[in-house]
Amino acid sequence: MSGPAGAAAFAHAWADRVAGTSYVSMTRAESRIFLGALTGRLAAVLAAEEFDAVAVHQVGTDFFDAGYTAPEALGRTVALVHERLLRDLGRTDPDGRLGRLIDVLASSCARAQLDQTLDAQENMRRAALVARIRAERALHESEARSLHAALHDPLTGLPNRTLFARHVAEAFDADDRIGVCFVGLDRFKAINDSLGHGVGNAVLTAVAQRLRAVGEQLFVARLGGDEFAVHVPRTTCVDDVLKVADRVLATVAAPILVDGRELTVTASAGVVERPTSGTDAGDVLRAADISLHWAKADGRDRPAAFDPDRNAADVARYELAAAMPGALARDEFYPVYQPLVDLNSRRLVGVEALARWRHPVHGRLPAGSFIGLAEDSGLIVPLGLRLMELSCRQAKRWNGPLVSVNLAVRQIRRPGLVAEVAALLDRVELPPELLQLEITESAVLEPDDETVGTLRALDNLGIRLVIDDFGTGYANLAYLADLPVRGLKVAAAFLRGQGFDSRRAAVLEAMISTGRALGLTVTAEGIETPEQARTLRRMGCHLGQGWYLGRPTDPSSIRLG
């Protein structure tokens, strides 16, 4: 066997011999074809005139590159060449060429092995380095992402409260003055409640976008809920921030299109602008928050600038309100009495009990400084009852003039009032006709069945009911006919000064005659001069009350009879 058939036999044996020494990505048939081609090239070298080392070197390299990389593959190849290449090819070897061929084959494989190993190792070291750099970058980016997430609002992408506070703190270091505007959407809860959170979120997102567009130099944040904040840099006066606030309110107020629906949302703004010295970021943010609160309390859809006096008054009010429950427990509230006088006979017919607070620090406080707070907090209910009890006890002692006590709206609305008043009269043993209760017009503005029922029950007890401050609200004359009231109190303030306004006097006269026509006792409050007393008497007013007729005083100073 020699020639092509012999070469094929050699290639067949070669493929079998090296199979499994290392992984080669070929079928066995493919490897026989591949090694057959290499055998042909080796045969050509043996047959050539001159020994071609370069050709043998290339065979070795190709063999290795095909995947025969294991040392065993080379070893078995060398053994096989030695053993039967000449025989299979039907050749002799007169010039010892086979030995040179094997030498070059072995060295070329070894060279290829070394080169490939070094290349592979270098590639792997680089891959490891690149992988490490990528990992570090990924870690860094994820840290940056979490940092961003910690300082931004996910819905609008705006900086959050934390970042805003940090930004303002930094502005303190950079600038002489600080200007901040807090923005709150008006009645935003109604949007969420009625149209759903999806619409609410769309509104917030739209507002955020508009605030961003107000000015590049502004720092805009979402504080949470429907509140946003704007830092205005390099301000010189409060107007600089108020101008921004006006732009903010205008841009928010433009209709917002959500799901094909046009929504109009207004906003309120709290504005602070001041020198940075003597204050800190926390103070400024608090002041902005307070101002925003004022803007809302003043009617919304407007800016309010921080005002230290108003704030001081607020703080004082707050402190007073906080002290009231304790004061009630210590019995610091008590009534003083102002005479109710018959304008014709000038005889005392009754007294109005007016609340006072014996404040341990501020001294005696008038009703105006704390009754509103008590109404806001609900403390008016126990406070009103306490004053009523003290007044009833005094009335019992006098057993003469009736005592008129104010009844707050909250008291009237409270179930159980009638039973409490009845029990009080019982306890004090006061004839009910000596107690008069004054209710404000607003309490009976739109009287519901329960209120009417309460008033009827009080009337049935024998207590007189009168309407206080008649004509100061939006008086509905119709209710006067239906409610069990016995009298009206009107303000004499219209008659203040010399030669009063005749039109106003005409209104007053009309109110008095209305009361008379309904058979009600009409009392004028706030009479300060003899002229007023005379005029009111001429107008037909029954009773009078005011400094001219008698100041509020301790019970001992009331002259009976």
Binding site: G20, T21, Y23, T69, M124, R126, V130, A131, A149
Partner: protein, 268 residues
């Protein structure tokens, strides 16, 4: 915190990884001392380990060739390892130059090397991901740019599922991936088992704990379950050398020594 799937500390060249150890078994030099040391330790009680790795690799070659022959032109090779000799794209693109291949591996160094190696091949992509996050694989924009899941895909999971313990729900993962594939797609699985050589495989499993991906070999029955929802292509789940061998000479006397069950399933 939204941490990346791997941290710089994970790239510890003093610890072996499956991808590099496998490369060493196949005669490659894309490995480090720790990889070689682990394989030498394994070969002390399993001297034919390299042969078995080659048998596995040869199965991958035959399976990819089969998929190309039945018209599959897209491949998703999860647990691809170091992409050196006899890669999927070489086999597939030799027959179909437009064949697209996405390689996925958990080993950052293997991925980094793969990207460098495949830099000039626009029809390939290498993704660093853990098979336990199948959604992150199939929804990755670079993956969906290359592979059209509305057309048949060859999903290759060769020597992969035996490093996913039952606690990580490998069957759920395979089912999840299956649900992403369209009819005509195929799954190719090669899976280590302790059925034929329990004692040696137990030692090999112990050694694999040095790598981040310890082995959890399974029985034939368990391997067959991975093909739920697929029609098994003949000859079904068999020892690696027995799956459509190129020639009878390639079938050793005791094919069970390969320690690997393999199979190809078709999605109807």
């Amino acid at each position: 915190m939204d941490r990346p799937s791997w941290a710089p500390d994970d790239i510890d060249l003093d610890k072996p990884t499956a991808a590099r150890a496998y490369d060493y078994l196949l005669g490659g030099a894309h490995n480090f001392a720790a990889d070689r040391e682990m394989i030498r330790a394994a070969m002390s009680f399993m001297p034919d380990l390299a042969l078995q790795a080659q048998a596995n690799r040869a199965f991958l070659r035959r399976a990819v060739q089969y998929l190309v022959d039945v018209g599959v032109r897209q491949f998703l090779d999860i647990g691809s390892g170091i992409p050196t000799r006899g890669n999927v794209h070489e086999i597939a693109q030799r027959a179909a130059p437009d064949a697209r291949v996405v390689y996925v591996d958990i080993d950052p160094v293997a991925v980094s090397h793969g990207r460098h190696f495949l830099a000039g091949n626009p029809h390939t992509y290498v993704l660093q991901e853990d098979v336990r996050n199948p959604t992150d694989i199939v929804k990755h924009p670079d993956v969906t740019d290359l592979l059209d899941f509305e057309r048949p895909i060859g999903l290759l999971m060769v020597a992969l599922l035996h490093v996913v313990p039952d606690a990580d729900d490998p069957y759920g993962i395979v089912a999840h991936l299956r649900d992403e594939l369209s009819p005509g797609s195929h799954i190719v699985i090669g899976h280590g088992t302790h059925d034929s050589r329990p004692e040696e495989v137990a030692k090999l499993t112990a050694i694999s704990r040095q790598t981040p991906t310890a082995m959890s070999t399974r029985t034939r029955e368990d391997v067959v379950r991975f093909f739920d929802g697929f029609e098994l292509v003949d000859p079904g789940v068999v020892w690696a050398p027995l799956w459509r061998p190129d020639s009878p000479e390639d079938v050793p006397e005791d094919p069970g020594r390969s320690g690997n069950y393999v199979g190809v399933g078709r999605l109807g």
